[in-house]
Each structure stands twice: as C-alpha cells, then as structure tokens.
C-alpha cells in the first residue's frame, strides 16, 4: 500500500511568532519591543545629557583635536614620528606599539605554553615537576607585580651605558636596553632579497613534490639537503656577484647614550617577558587539558604502529586536542592583548599610555578618547577571535 506523503501544515506564522516572541508568542514580542525601546531611550538620554552638559561647561567636544600638534615625544615608534606630528600620528604610534607587544607576546606565550604542557605530561619526573612548579608559581602571582619585577630586576642588574656589557664590540647591553648594529641597505640588497625569495619558493615546491611522491608512490625523498643548499647557496652566489647586501652601522657610545644602531628598550623587553611567561602558564594548562582529553587508546594505537612518542603527539594527539584547546586559547590571546595596557606602569608607550594617557590629559577630551580606545581594543579582540575561529574551522574541516 502506497502511503501518500502528507503535506506538512504551513508553519510560517507560528514560526514567526516563536522567533519574535519566544514561547510567550505575540505578547512576548511586545515585551521585547518595549525592552529594546527602553534601552534605546537610555542610550539616547546618556548621549544627549553628556552633550548638553559638556556644552554648558564649555568643554570642547568632537574629534577636531586629532589634527592638532601633539608636542610631546615617544621613545619607541615603528613609523617615523616627531613631536611636531599630530595626535592622529600619536594614536597610530601607540596602536602599533600595542600590536607589536601583543603579537610577540602571543608568539612566545604559545611556544612556552606548549613546551611547559608537554614537560608536565612527560614521564620524566624532574621535568614534569619543574613544569608544574612553573605553572603554579607564575599563574598565582599578580601580573602587574610580575611586570614590575622584570622591569626593576632587569634594570637593577644591568650596568649604565658607559660600563655596558659588550659582545664583539657591536652588541651592547645596558640599562638603556640592547643596542644592536643596524643593517643599512647597499646596492647588493635587492638582488640578495630576490635570490632569497626564489630559493624559498623553490624549497617549498620541492617539499610539496616530495610529499606528493610519498603519498602516491611511497617513495621517500630526502629534501632538506637540497633545500638548505638552495637557501644558503643562491643568495651567497648573488652576493659574490653583486657585492654585500647590507652594511652594518655599529653603535658607538657618544655622550650619555649610544648613537647609531637599533635599540630594544628595556620597557619592551620587560613587558613582553612578563606577558609571555604569565600567559604561558595558563596556555600550558589549556594544552595539557586538551591533550588529556584525547582518549588514551589513540596514543597506544599510535605507539603500536611503531611511531615514536614525539610523532604520536604531533601527528595524532595534538591535531585532535586542538579542537578542545582552541577556544580557551583564543581567550588567552585576548587576555594578553588586553593585559598589555599595564604597560603604563613601566613607561612603555602603548596605546593606553600615549593616547588614553598623555593625549587625554593634554586635550581633556575624555569621552572621545576613551571611546576610541575602547573601540580599538574591541576591534583587535574581534579580529583575533575571527582569525582563531577561521583556524578552528579549517582544522575541523581537514579532520572531516
């Protein structure tokens, strides 16, 4: 007997009702509407009230100040900056400093975090206890305290520039930071970079070819000697033809400080160190939890295939653990970025210090500046989460 498929009843209206009003239906919808209206009214009142009162007190408002001359200096800038530039420029300088410390901090925090997690899971008793001790010590001390510790401890240990520790008379370490020779491009620079680029591309192609050969025919081709030869040899050859790619400007002590060369300021080192080690302790626990969440059988199966412990971790356990690790790892990345605002305590010129600090105080436009700063941190955080979500999505897809 053939069963006629029954036409489902039209659900459009009930669906709409549920979507708009929840289980309560239309009355719920009205309540939601009222709630949103109340929120909008409160927001409007706040803005209108603030505007009226700023006008009444004749406090300057608006964003016109961004074009004014800043008139103060900053000791670390990734784009050219001088005190005759505008507040907009100061904003960008501060933002780049924040991004620099965040990106480098995240990079090191991830590496240290993974290493500590693996150390803690290692069968080696001493290694696992040291890793455990590290986690417990670092994550239980306030971050500001750690930043100040690194800053003051490192500074106190270092000599003044006149007695700086020199390495080969070209690297100088003192309480003004690490001064290193600055590479300056020579005529041979462009061909050198070009050769290096070609060598790297060729090495990647070679590696992909060997992978394909491995999967298709099981042939094992040793790639690394060729790749190394390419990457070292090609630029070397070009250098012999076109001359040295760079000349190094060696720093010399002149007056109070070193002239010439590039300098890594101690504030940056202390902040990066503190942020990386602190966040690494949390990342280590997240990674450990992720690895332990993978069933023990996976590890045993890997071992029974004859893979070494490292290979089992790399090829079997960690890819599966990443699903568990990624969301809390994203949180830690966001925390690190936001924690970088503690920079102001040690005089590192990040966004909060130069923009929400000095600029705010000079212009007095608290609402605009705090608004912009909050917006920027929100944007940085959202972009970081988006990148991590995308990465998670790719991993999920590759594992099917």
């Amino acid at each position: 007997m053939a069963i006629e498929p029954r036409q489902p009843p039209s659900q459009l209206l009930p669906k709409l009702q549920r979507a708009l009003g929840g289980s309560a239906g239309w009355s719920g919808f009205v309540i939601q509407l009222l709630f949103v209206a109340a929120l909008a009214w409160i927001a409007y009142e706040i803005v209108a009230n603030a505007r009226a009162n700023l006008q009444a007190q004749r406090i300057t408002a608006g964003f016109g100040f961004m074009a004014n001359t800043a008139g103060f200096d900053v000791n670390q800038y990734l784009i050219p900056y001088s005190n005759s530039d505008s507040y907009t420029r100061v904003f960008i300088v501060g933002l780049l400093n924040t991004l620099l410390v965040s990106v480098i901090g995240i990079f090191f925090a991830t590496i240290i975090g993974f290493l500590v997690a693996l150390g803690r899971l290692s069968p080696n008793w001493l290694l696992s206890r040291i890793s455990g001790g590290y986690v417990e010590l670092v994550r239980n001390l306030p971050l500001l305290f750690q930043i100040l510790f690194w800053y003051l401890a490192v500074l106190a240990a270092l000599p003044n520039p006149r007695q700086s520790i020199s390495i080969f008379d070209s690297l100088f370490l003192s309480n003004r930071g690490l001064v290193i020779p600055k590479p300056i491009g020579e005529p041979g620079f462009e061909p050198f970079m070009f050769a290096l680029l070609i060598a790297i591309v060729a090495a990647i192609v070679l590696w992909r070819y060997s992978r394909r050969a491995l999967f298709e025919s099981g042939r094992v081709i040793k790639v690394w000697p060729y790749a190394l030869g390419l990457i070292v040899g090609l630029p070397l050859l070009v250098t012999l033809i076109f001359g040295a790619p760079v000349k190094f400007e060696v720093p010399v002590l002149k007056g109070f400080n070193f002239a010439g060369g590039s300098r890594v300021i101690p504030e940056f080192v202390a902040l990066t160190l503190a942020l990386a080690t602190y966040t690494a302790a949390f990342i280590a626990e997240i990674v450990r939890a992720g690895i332990l969440s993978v069933h023990k059988g996976q590890m045993e199966a890997g071992s029974s295939l004859g893979l070494q412990r490292g290979s089992v971790l790399r090829l079997i356990v960690i890819p599966q653990a990443l699903r568990v690790i990624l969301p809390p790892l994203t949180n830690q990345y966001l925390n690190l970025t936001k924690n970088s605002t503690l920079a102001v305590a040690i005089g590192y010129p990040d966004l909060v210090s130069v923009f929400a600090g000095t600029t705010l105080s000079q212009t007095g436009q608290a609402i605009e500046i705090i608004g912009i700063t909050m917006g920027v941190y929100l944007l940085i955080s959202l972009v970081t989460s988006a990148i991590m979500s995308f990465y998670g999505w790719r991993i999920g897809r590759s594992m099917g």
Binding site: N49, G71, D73, G255, F256, V344, A345, T358
Partner: protein, 338 residues
Amino acid sequence: MKRVSLVLTLAVATGLSVQAASAQTLKTVKDRGMVSCGVGQGLPGFSSPDDKGNWTGLDVDVCRAIAAAIFNDPTKVKFVPLSAKDRFTALQSGEIDVLSRNTTWTLSRDTSLGANFTGVTYYDGQGFMVKKALKVNSALELNSASVCVQQGTTTEQNLADYFKGNNMKYEVIAFGTNDEAVKAYESGRCDVFTTDVSGLYADRLKLASPADHVVLPEVISKEPLGPMVRHGDDQWLDIVKWTLYAMVTAEELGITQKNADEMAKSDKPEMKRVFGTDGNLGEQLGLTKDWVSRIVKAVGNYGESFDRNVGAGSKLGIARGLNALWNKGGIQYAPPIR
C-alpha cells in the same frame, strides 16, 4: 590606570547632569558636609600624607582653608589623590569640587578643559635633576640623554620644546605616576629626571641618598601653579579665588595664626573690613563675616603656610623667591579686600 579613567569617563557621561544642572557647588558642599579636594599622590611640601595619615602641604592648606571658610573646621575635607593624567577628568566629572594639585595655569587648560584657574599658589618653573657623578653643570650639556618624566603634564611638552629649540636629541620615558618616574630615574634607566623645580627638591628627599643628586640651574619654563574649579559656577570660583587672596592679604597685613584674635579687635578701617566687623564682604561671597579669621586661624597666612610646608621651616628649605609678597621682591599680590 585604565579603569580609573573609564570610571571617570562614565561619570562624566552620566553624572554631570547633577553637577551642571544645579551648578551650586557651595550648596552641594554644605549638604555633603565636606569639601572634596583633588590633591597629588604624595609630593612632600605640596600634598602628602604624614605617618598618621594626615594630609599636609601647601596645596593641602588651600583645601583646608576653603573648608575653614565654609565650615569653620579645616578637617572637613575629603582628599582625593590623583595622578597627573586623571586629575582633569576628576574635576570635569564632579568627583572633586576643587583641584589643588600643583597644576600649571595655561590657556588651553583655562578654556577647552571646561575649568578655570583661581589664582597662583606657587610660581614655579621646570628644571632638571641629574646624578652628581655625571658631572653635568648645565642643561645644555644633556644632548642624547634619557629623560624620565610623569605623563600628562606640561613638563612633557616643555621638554620637547627645550631640546628641539636647542638642537639636542633625547629619549623620553613617560610614566603614569610621579613615583614610578622617580623610581626609574633612581634605578638608572634615565640620566635625567625633570619636573617643576619645587617638585625636584621634594622628590630628591625621597631618594635613597639625596646628596648624590643635583638640580641644574636652568629653569626652562613658567609654571604658575594654582587651584582649579569647574566652569559654570562663578560663586564657587570666587570663594576659592578669595580664599587664596585672603591668605596673601593676611600676610601683607601681618595677621598670623597666633595673633588673629588680637588683630580682629583692631580699629583700623582696613582691618575691620577684613575681619568683617564692618560691612558684609564675607556674606557677599556666600560665606560668613569672619571668613578671613577662620582661614588664618586654621592654616595661617600665606607666608606661614609657605614656610611650614616648603620654605625655611620645612625639610625642603625653598627660598621665597618669586613667591615673596610684591612689596618684598616677589610677585605674590592680592587685590584689595573691599
């Protein structure tokens, strides 16, 4: 630091209505029973708490004098310690009634910040402090030096102007609070610490061995320091302004903390006006007739307060200089009380 600014900003956004709509600071203060006064975070001589937690200093005396004028009780002050970069937001938001925190009077602060200066408590100028061991005798020898400074001050801009004007290079490290800047200077991160000269003398006392540090002779800017109030309440502006002038006038007339009661009996017309035994000048301000004697009995005249806090009678030992009365070689001058 960020959280403080955030809270203050929210307060600006939402809380101003109360302040600006009524704009009756005197009434607000009386209802509260306290003057809320923004001061520094510990600058000896100007505003710092002693070992019992009592605030003392020249800036603090201004707050106490205002409280004495209103309540006849110099202890009715709530002190709010503020960093340089948070101070204006605190005033704008109404968290404090008056900012008495060695703040330099400039045009832009008088206008776009929405606040007014009420006078000058201390004529200062920016200077430099270095370690004696560096054997520097002049600020012009500071080319390529590293300089520690507190951020959010006129100091930062003067510094940039001075080095640029003299074609010298320098590295600036700006800290959120004065103490952090001083600590970094002491640890050797900087060759130079810069702030107003009075501040240099005060901060030098906090160093482990003050004798190893020297203040250079150059004064590179004009820094008239004084209290600030919000725009929009002229009565309150007058009260703060004339409280200062009362202290200066008292010194000029020789009225001191000790002899105030004695002098109040004087028959001189000028004395009668000042002490309110004749006329109602104090009431015109919204205060009482005996406002001047209340102020002087609480904190003394300007000269007494100066000596006790920063001058000869204090650890700082700063000479009166520009801060002497106009008829004694300085420029402290009060309009007549009449």
